[in-house]
C-alpha cells in the first residue's frame, strides 16, 4: 500500500474509533443552527434568506472542534514523532489526514442539511449539487485547517489559536460556499453558481498544494 493509502487508512480508522467525538461535534453544530434561529427571530422570510449562511457558520464553528480533535491522538504518547521516523513522506501524512478531515466535515455538513431544511424552511431539488458544494467547502476548510491543527496541537493555547488563524484565511471559501449554497436553495436566475464554484475550486487547488508543500516544515523537529 502506498504511504498515502496507509496514512489515509490510519486516519479513517482513527475517526471510526473516535466516532463518539464525531457525534458530539455534530450535536454542537446542530445546537449552533438552533441558536442562530433564536438569534435571528421567528421571521421565516429572514431565516430562509440566511439559511445558507447559518449552515456554513455552524459548519465552520464545528470544524474547529473536529480539526483540533484530529491531531489529538497524534500528540498523545508522542505518536507524531513515531510517524515521522517512518520512511514515509511527511506529505503523505498531511494528505491522509486532510482527506480524512474532508470526509468527516462533508458528513457533518450533509448531516446538518436536514436540520437546516426544517429550521429555516428551505429545500432544494439539486441535492447532488448541494453535496458537491458542501464537499468543496469542506475541502477549503480542511486544507489550511489540517496544517494549522498540526501546528497548534503542539502549543498551549491551541483552542484559541486554531480558529484565530483559520477564520480570516477561509473567508474566500466561506463566501463561495455560502453564495453557492444560497443559490441552490433560493434559486439562481442569473446562472451565477458556476462562478462561485470556480472560486471554491481555485481556493481548494491553491491551498491543497501549498499546505502540502509547507506541512513538512510544521512538523519537523
Amino acid at each position: 500500500m502506498s504511504p498515502l493509502g496507509a496514512a489515509l487508512r490510519k486516519d479513517l480508522l482513527l475517526q471510526w474509533r473516535t466516532r463518539a467525538q464525531f457525534v458530539a461535534v455534530f450535536v454542537f453544530g446542530a445546537s449552533a443552527l438552533l441558536l442562530f434561529s433564536f438569534a435571528s427571530g421567528p421571521d421565516s422570510g429572514a431565516l430562509r434568506q440566511h439559511a445558507a449562511g447559518f449552515l456554513w457558520l455552524g459548519l465552520l464553528l464545528s470544524s474547529t472542534l473536529a480539526l483540533a480533535d484530529s491531531f489529538e491522538s497524534e500528540m498523545a504518547q508522542r505518536a507524531l514523532e513515531g510517524l515521522l521516523l517512518l520512511p514515509a513522506d511527511a506529505r503523505a501524512l498531511y494528505y491522509g489526514k486532510a482527506i480524512a478531515n474532508v470526509l468527516q466535515l462533508t458528513l457533518l455538513g450533509a448531516g446538518l442539511v436536514p436540520l437546516m431544511v426544517v429550521l429555516y424552511d428551505v429545500s432544494t431539488a439539486r441535492v447532488p449539487a448541494l453535496l458537491g458544494v458542501i464537499f468543496l467547502g469542506a475541502a477549503g476548510l480542511s486544507a489550511p485547517g489540517t496544517l494549522y491543527s498540526a501546528m497548534t496541537a503542539q502549543l498551549r493555547a491551541r483552542n484559541t489559536l486554531l480558529p484565530l488563524l483559520l477564520f480570516p484565511l477561509v473567508v474566500p471559501a466561506l463566501l463561495g460556499a455560502v453564495k453557492a449554497t444560497a443559490l441552490l436553495l433560493l434559486g439562481d436566475p442569473m446562472g451565477q453558481l458556476g462562478s462561485w464554484v470556480s472560486l471554491l475550486v481555485a481556493f481548494d487547488l491553491v491551498y491543497w498544494s501549498l499546505c502540502g508543500l509547507l506541512f513538512e516544515r510544521v512538523v519537523e523537529d
Binding site: 489550511p144 472560486l199 481555485a202 499546505c211 509547507l214 510544521v218
Partner: protein, 234 residues
C-alpha cells in the same frame, strides 16, 4: 544586525515629506467637485494603503527567504514588517471609515479593498498572536514564516471573492482616478510614509534581533543561523 543610525535619518526624512505633503494637501490643493473637502482624506488614506501592501509584500519576501535560507535576521525583519503591517492595516480601516461616513452616511461600505484590509488585520494579527505562544525560537521562526506565506497568498483570493460578493449589492466605491492637480500631495505623502516605515521597520527588526540574542544567550549557538554582525560578544 548593525547599529548604525541610518533608520533615524530615513524616518526623519519621511516625516518631513509627510509634513510637506499634508500641508499641501490640506491648505493648497484644490477642492474636489463632488466630495468637497472630504476628498482631502485621500492624501493620507491612499499613501497608507499603498504602503501597507508594500510592507506586507516585504513580510512575504522575508518569510520565503526565512524558509529557504533561515537566519535570525530574516526572522527579525519578518516580525517587524508583520507588526508594522498590522498597525498600518488598522489605520487604513479607520481612515476608510472616516471617509465613508460623510460620503455614504455609513461607517463601513464593504468596499472590496477596505474589506480585504480588514481581513488582513485579523490574518496577520493572528500571526503576531502565534509568535507570542511559541516558546521555541526556531519553531516560532519557521511557523510564522509558513503562516505569512499562507496569509499572503490568500490576499488576492479574499479581494476577488469580496469584490464578486459585493458587486451584487453595491454601486458605490472608493474613487480610483485622481486628477492631476491632486497628484503631488499624494505622491509626496506616499514617499513620506514609505521612508518613515522603512526607518521604523529597520529599528523594529533590530529590537527583534536583540531579543532573539538574549533569548538564545549562554550557551550561544555556534550555528551559522545567527547572522554576522550581531554586535559581537558582550
Amino acid at each position: 544586525m548593525g547599529n548604525k543610525p541610518w533608520p533615524f535619518v530615513v524616518a526623519g526624512f519621511g516625516l518631513l515629506l509627510l509634513a510637506w505633503g499634508t500641508i499641501w494637501g490640506l491648505a493648497f490643493a484644490p477642492k474636489e467637485i463632488y466630495m468637497g473637502d472630504v476628498q482631502r482624506i485621500m492624501y493620507v488614506h491612499v499613501p497608507t494603503a499603498w504602503n501597507t501592501m508594500l510592507v506586507l509584500t516585504f513580510a512575504f519576501a522575508c518569510a520565503v527567504v526565512s524558509l529557504l535560507r533561515g537566519g535570525w535576521g530574516w526572522d527579525a525583519r519578518l516580525e517587524a514588517s508583520v507588526e508594522a503591517g498590522v498597525v498600518m492595516s488598522i489605520l487604513v480601516c479607520m481612515q476608510g471609515s472616516l471617509w465613508a461616513r460623510p460620503t455614504w452616511g455609513v461607517w463601513w461600505d464593504w468596499d472590496p479593498r477596505l474589506t480585504t484590509t480588514a481581513v488582513l488585520v485579523f490574518a496577520f494579527g493572528g500571526i503576531l498572536a502565534l509568535r507570542q505562544f511559541v516558546d521555541d525560537p526556531v519553531k516560532r521562526a519557521v511557523w510564522s514564516a509558513v503562516a505569512v506565506v499562507i496569509a499572503y497568498v490568500d490576499v488576492p483570493l479574499v479581494y476577488f471573492s469580496v469584490r464578486w460578493w459585493n458587486s451584487l449589492h453595491q454601486v458605490q466605491s472608493t474613487p480610483n482616478t485622481v486628477s492631476r492637480a491632486f497628484h503631488w500631495p499624494l505622491r509626496i505623502n506616499a514617499f513620506g510614509v514609505l521612508f518613515l516605515m522603512i526607518g521604523v521597520i529597520a529599528l523594529r527588526a533590530r529590537v527583534a534581533f536583540l531579543r532573539r540574542e538574549s533569548e538564545l544567550a549562554p550557551p550561544r549557538p555556534s550555528a551559522p543561523a545567527v547572522a554576522a554582525g550581531a554586535g559581537g560578544v558582550r
